[in-house]
């Protein structure tokens, strides 16, 4: 590709993902992402609290449709995400490599991510059976408990595990019928944006997953305090941050899910209890004759 025939390089613009669309941040701000040699890899949107607010509106709007979709359909769509990701393996491996992972580790992470999607796709029509129950009561009632999606979940994705950790937190929430707003890894945001494209190609309805990039310090408080968010998942091990999240989340008694110090690569980091953490238990008392 030397000399006069060389092409003009086509660089990808990394944008955010809100309501099934790829806008730039409404704030117009960005920050340069550098590789280990200090070379700029890409300009990343520095998402604002208004982007977050718009995402929550989108997630809330998408919630009734997604939570009432059949388990079978949700499972199919999540399986489809895995298929789409499989087709773009090389791109994701290259992006992880660009952000400092070795080729071998990058390949391992992408493979594990695809497998994780398949794993949770399988759980879509099974977790209800595992966690629901018929309860013994001492009156003439048929008493049973079922799982229901809690609503809009905000996710502060892990900083270190930028693809596997991201997906391992999004998928258990959405397989259970929740919609979510996610803040990508601040240090390695590339895969999160590309993963949004995969979601888009996999027919995940707009608003079910919204992905923002930006500064954690700036957005954590918003993720934790928004009154229209029903649960928050975080993986940060800083106790001051955890305290801030717990206090802000108390205003509307959000579920707070702490996934600090999880090694997402391990087999035991995938299990149906992660689905249960963003579910509510609905118990029904149905009168019966003695």
């Amino acid at each position: 590709m030397a000399g006069s025939t060389s092409r003009v390089p086509v660089e990808k613009t990394y944008k955010i993902y809100i309501d099934g669309k790829f806008p730039r941040t409404e704030s117009g701000r960005f920050f340069p992402l550098e590789d280990s040699d200090g070379e700029v890899i890409a300009n990343i949107c520095r998402g604002s609290r208004k982007d977050f607010r718009n995402s929550v509106v989108a997630a809330r709007k998408a919630f009734p449709g997604w939570s009432s979709a059949s388990a079978y359909l949700r499972g199919q769509i999540i399986y489809r995400i895995a298929e789409m990701l499989e087709g773009r393996r090389e791109q994701f491996i290259a992006e992880l490599h660009l952000q400092g992972l070795s080729k071998r580790r990058a390949k391992k992470e992408v493979d594990a991510t695809i497998d994780r999607l398949i794993y949770y796709a399988g759980w879509s029509d099974k977790y209800q059976q595992v966690f629901s129950a018929v309860n013994p009561v001492s009156s003439s009632h048929f008493n049973f408990s079922v799982m229901e999606a809690t609503g809009v979940v905000s996710v502060l994705a892990p900083n270190e595990s930028s693809l596997l950790g991201l997906v391992s937190n999004i998928v258990p929430a959405i397989v259970g019928g929740n919609t979510c707003v996610v803040l990508a890894s601040e240090e390695m945001p590339l895969c999160a944006v590309s993963f949004a494209e995969v979601l888009h190609a996999a027919d995940v309805p707009g608003g079910v997953v919204n992905i923002l990039t930006g500064y954690r310090e700036e957005l954590t408080g918003q993720f934790a305090s928004h009154m229209d968010v029903n649960a928050i998942i975080y993986c940060d091990s800083d106790t001051d941050v955890a305290k801030e999240i717990e206090i802000s989340a108390a205003d509307n008694i959000k579920r707070v899910v702490n996934r600090t110090n999880t090694d997402w690569a391990q087999e035991k980091s995938q299990n149906p209890y992660l689905i249960k953490e963003t579910q509510e238990t609905k118990t029904t008392w149905h009168p019966i004759g003695s």
Binding site: R49, R53, V56, Q222, S225, H226, M227, D228, D251, N252
Partner: protein
């Protein structure tokens, strides 16, 4: 009848002399209003003003006295957790619900507006429209929202539409008359402008964009054309006419854009509930949520605000 005599300024003007609308210019101008930066205190004031201009509306076949009473309670107690809020301007209902609303609102200084004239289609004989208007006024309606006969207007029978508005105007007595143009069925901005001029000359106290039953309902460009018509009519006759965009304005942000447009087109004199209204059902709660956000710094959820 002295009041009506003053309002009925005219006869049907020559509508061919009404200025034509530059559609592209109107689009660009209305896009410009959406770029104004309204900062904190001004925003809070604007939000409070929006609240005070809302005609809280329920116009559904499934309306019941219970539902209307509940809406009136909402009008009186918008959000008691925030004391000192202004109340909405009016409650807007069907004629059969005027009595219920009047009673439920009591002495709270919130007006009762009633749609009339075979709302929303307007397809009824004039006699029936007049009778409906009189009934609504007798029941205690302070304001009448009538629809024009779009069919007659579109086939060029301007005299028919003019006479009809004038007749309804007379039947209103002391009640204020808002004339709904149903701009979504008029097709072009030129026709919107012409219908505005016609309605004002026929004695309208307010002109209103839409019934809310037809899409598109209120938009910024359509409202701008109507505001310009009001301005020119004011220069011509010295009489102020009010404006009511209705339908599709459900976010506080958009409502503020409408206020910016009002301020920059007609000026401060029109910025009161006496001259400007929003016809809306879900706008009030969004405004309340934004006001609460401004007070607490925390984004709000609809779960914590009464629906109606």
């Amino acid at each position: 009848m002295s009041v009506t005599a003053i309002r009925e300024t005219g006869h049907l003007p020559d509508l061919s002399r009404v200025p034509l609308v530059d559609e592209v210019g109107v689009e660009e101008r209305s896009a410009r209003f959406q770029t104004r930066s309204i900062k904190k205190e001004s925003k809070v004031e604007a939000l409070r003003m929006v609240l005070s201009m809302i005609d809280l509306t329920t116009l559904e076949g499934q309306d019941t006295p219970g539902k209307v009473q509940q809406l009136c309670q909402k009008a009186i107690h918008l959000h008691d957790a925030m004391p000192g809020l202004p109340h909405v301007a009016a409650v807007c209902v069907y004629p059969t619900m005027v009595g219920v609303a009047k009673k439920a609102l009591g002495k709270n200084n919130i007006k009762v507006a009633s749609v009339a004239t075979a709302f929303p289609s307007g397809m009824a004989p004039r006699q029936i429209k007049l009778e409906e208007t009189r009934i609504a006024v007798d029941e205690g309606a302070d304001e009448i929202d009538m629809v024009i006969s779009r069919g007659a207007f579109l086939q060029g029978d301007y005299g028919f539409v003019f006479d009809e508005i004038a007749a309804i105007r007379e039947a209103c007595g002391d009640a204020h008359l808002k004339v709904i143009l149903e701009t979504g069925e008029l097709g072009t901005l030129d026709r919107v402008r012409r219908a505005s001029v016609l309605a004002m000359h026929a004695g309208a106290d307010f002109i209103k964009t839409s019934t809310g039953k037809i899409q598109p309902a209120a938009t910024l460009p359509v409202t701008l054309v109507m505001l310009q018509a009001i301005r020119d009519y004011f220069y011509e006759t010295g009489r102020m006419v009010g404006m009511k965009p209705a339908g599709g304005i459900s976010s506080a942000k958009l409502a503020i854009h409408y206020l910016v447009m009002l301020r920059e087109t007609l000026g401060a004199a029109w910025m009161t509930p006496a001259w400007y209204r929003f016809g809306a059902s879900s706008l009030a709660n969004d405004v309340l949520m934004q006001l609460r956000k401004q007070a607490t710094g925390i984004y709000q959820s609809a779960d914590y605000f009464s629906k109606d």
